[in-house]
């Protein structure tokens, strides 16, 4: 475990990265958000716990880079009714944990809890609460941190309302 522990500078760098990613997602700045992912990214929102093969069972989201690009193109088309107008939202991130990935010098396993408030203004203006833990594989590419994988285990489960923004 000791070999995988991270120093305070790395911890602060990762935390700042997560805060920035969260702000871009909250504010619907998708072009800037998309820069943060690698070409082999896997963005996964399983149903329940992330303890199954997403190739064999349905998930809420199971995006490779191509499908994630389609998702963002749809969101930025201006005609995605489910996000027109966009939901005002803010998330709080906490319980950040950072480890060096096993067998790698430039990758980090990161986890963080979140609570997200969304005002679904598209129809009834219901205030929705989303909570969970995001697990990341971050990779250093040309000196910058990038998301190689993001898995979001939601506390909300079984019959979600529209989930058409980025978690």
């Amino acid at each position: 475990m000791k070999a995988r522990a991270c120093d305070a500078d790395l911890y602060r760098e990762v935390e700042a990265f997560l805060f920035r990613e969260a702000r871009l997602a909250d504010e619907g700045r998708y072009a800037e958000w998309e820069v943060l992912v690698t070409d082999d990214v896997h963005y996964w929102v399983p149903k329940g716990r992330a303890d199954y093969d997403p190739g064999a069972r349905l998930s809420y989201i199971n995006d490779n880079r191509t499908r994630l690009a389609t998702r963002i193109r749809q969101l930025t088309s201006g005609r995605r009714h489910a996000q027109t107008p966009p939901s005002p939202m803010r998330r709080v991130i906490s319980n950040v944990e950072v480890e060096r990935a096993e067998g790698s010098t430039d990758e980090y396993d990161v986890g963080a809890n979140f609570v997200l408030y969304e005002l679904a203004v598209q129809a009834s203006s219901a205030l929705r609460v989303w909570a969970g833990r995001a697990s990341y594989r971050l990779r250093r590419v040309d000196g910058e941190l990038r998301i190689a994988a993001k898995t979001v285990e939601l506390v909300n489960d079984d019959a979600l309302p529209n989930l058409t923004f980025l978690l």
Binding site: G55, H81, A123, P161
Partner: protein, 434 residues
């Protein structure tokens, strides 16, 4: 059964014949609580409802939990390998017996007083039995009056009186389920992918209508067409009004289809692929059905159809419409797995299912927002037959649809409201006919 409570099937204070007309219906039918109560009694209790598929419970003791209307039930395979539908409610004090989505049990033991029921719903034993009269040994879990199946699709009718299964499903329902299952070289589907739930703040009937609405695609799903311009709906749904040969079909009995078969311009268009990429599948189909049979199946693909009231055959997906309250519905979907094909094909189907359906997909969330906007507009309405406002127009194509008197089928242009009228005509007969 209902004790002293008035039976909603008999208290007919709402004039459904006046509120449901051939070319229009009143908006209050989507929002009024009494209408919803009547629907639960006259449709979800008194008529047949899709419950599940036998492949979901392959082994004795396997079970899944479902709802018939608002009634919680267990679909379970017994020791005799028979599949049964049982009330998910202890016969003693009513505790829910199974509170997970699926599981495997040797029996059902209630957590309250440890009453234990066998997989066929018969009481096996109770603690301290001396305190009960002898009759306790005859106790069983409640269950629907009738359970029937076709190609593994299990349907149930809660109440003792009502149409027989064959009359409910009809030749069209049989044909639709057959067309889906026949896409498997061995004629069997398997629900292996799990179910995803999507909660929408809208009335359940909007989902029958939305699933089989061929008019909205270009508008509600404009952003999908921007992001994914090569969707297979391009030819079959979106073709110009004058030239698109796809059809909207009212089969009677509440079943309807958007029949894209004539609108496809290539085999396997419905799967977004071509024969070269699924060669083993084509060969397996050809071995089972001959070259011509395989060719036809690959062209036609699965149906896009509604089996009244709650089952959507959404091409290679199944969707169950679960009414929760007048303004709340849960849509549950799964991918259809084909038996006798390679795993890659079923994985492809699963990926397509994720793209199309569910709360984070590219298609249905925009339908959900549309339905929620309708619900907001209907919320305050009361079911007053003479109302001068609040009517929903369902007249599109009524003048140009063809009616075949021998089969009682009505066939319209794919963008016509033939499918909506199919729903409401049957709805009216069940709601007003009692």
């Amino acid at each position: 059964m209902n004790g002293g409570r008035p039976n909603p099937r008999q208290t007919d204070a709402i004039d459904y014949e006046a509120l449901v007309q051939e070319d229009r219906v009143h908006g209050s039918l989507y929002s009024h609580p009494r209408v919803f109560d009547h629907e639960m009694a006259r449709i979800f209790e008194a008529s047949w409802v899709f419950v599940g598929h036998e492949s979901e419970v392959p082994e004795p003791g396997d079970w899944v939990t479902r709802r018939i209307g608002r009634e919680p039930v267990i679909l379970v395979r017994g020791r005799d390998r028979d599949v049964r539908v049982l009330a998910n409610r202890c016969a003693h004090r009513g505790t829910t017996l199974c509170w997970r989505e699926r599981g495997h049990s040797r029996n059902f033991r209630c957590t309250y007083h440890a009453w234990t029921f066998d997989l066929d719903g018969v009481l096996q034993g109770v603690p301290y039995p001396a305190g009960f009269r002898g009759a306790v040994s005859q106790t069983q879990l409640d269950r629907p009056a009738q359970v029937a199946r076709h190609r593994g699709f299990v349907f149930a009718r809660m109440s003792a009186e009502g149409a027989p299964f064959e009359e409910f499903l009809g030749p069209a329902g049989v044909e639709l389920l057959d067309r889906l299952c026949d896409l498997s070289p061995v004629g069997r589907i398997r629900l292996h992918a799990g179910w995803i739930g999507h909660q929408v703040e809208s009335n359940w009937k909007m989902w029958y209508e939305s699933n089989n609405d061929g008019y909205h695609f270009r508008f509600v799903h404009a952003s999908l067409l921007d992001a994914m311009p090569d969707t297979h709906y391009e030819d079959a749904v979106l073709g110009a009004e004058a030239t698109n040969p796809s059809r909207a079909v009212d089969y009677g009995g509440g079943h309807s289809e958007l029949d894209f078969r004539r609108g496809y311009t290539a085999p396997l268009a419905w799967l977004g692929t071509d024969e070269a990429r699924v060669g083993t599948y084509r060969d397996a189909l050809a071995r089972a059905r001959g070259d011509e049979g395989a060719k036809q199946l690959l062209w036609d693909g699965p149906p896009h159809a509604m089996i009244f009231p709650n089952l959507f055959l959404g091409e290679m997906n199944l969707v169950v419409i679960e009414p929760v309250a007048p303004g709340r519905t849960i849509l549950r979907h799964t991918a259809v797995g084909l038996e006798g094909v390679d795993a890659a094909l079923n994985r492809r189907i699963l990926r397509q299912s994720e793209a199309a359906l569910g709360p984070a997909s590219f298609i249905v969330p925009d339908d959900a927002t549309t339905a929620e906007r309708m619900q907001c507009a209907f919320e305050a309405m009361a079911p007053i037959p003479g109302a001068g406002h609040g009517w929903i127009d369902l007249s599109r194509g009524i003048e140009r649809e063809e009616h075949d008197p021998t089969t009682d089928r009505r066939i319209g242009h794919v963008s016509d409201e033939t499918t909506n009228r199919a729903f409401w005509r049957h709805y009216r007969s069940l709601m007003a006919g009692a």
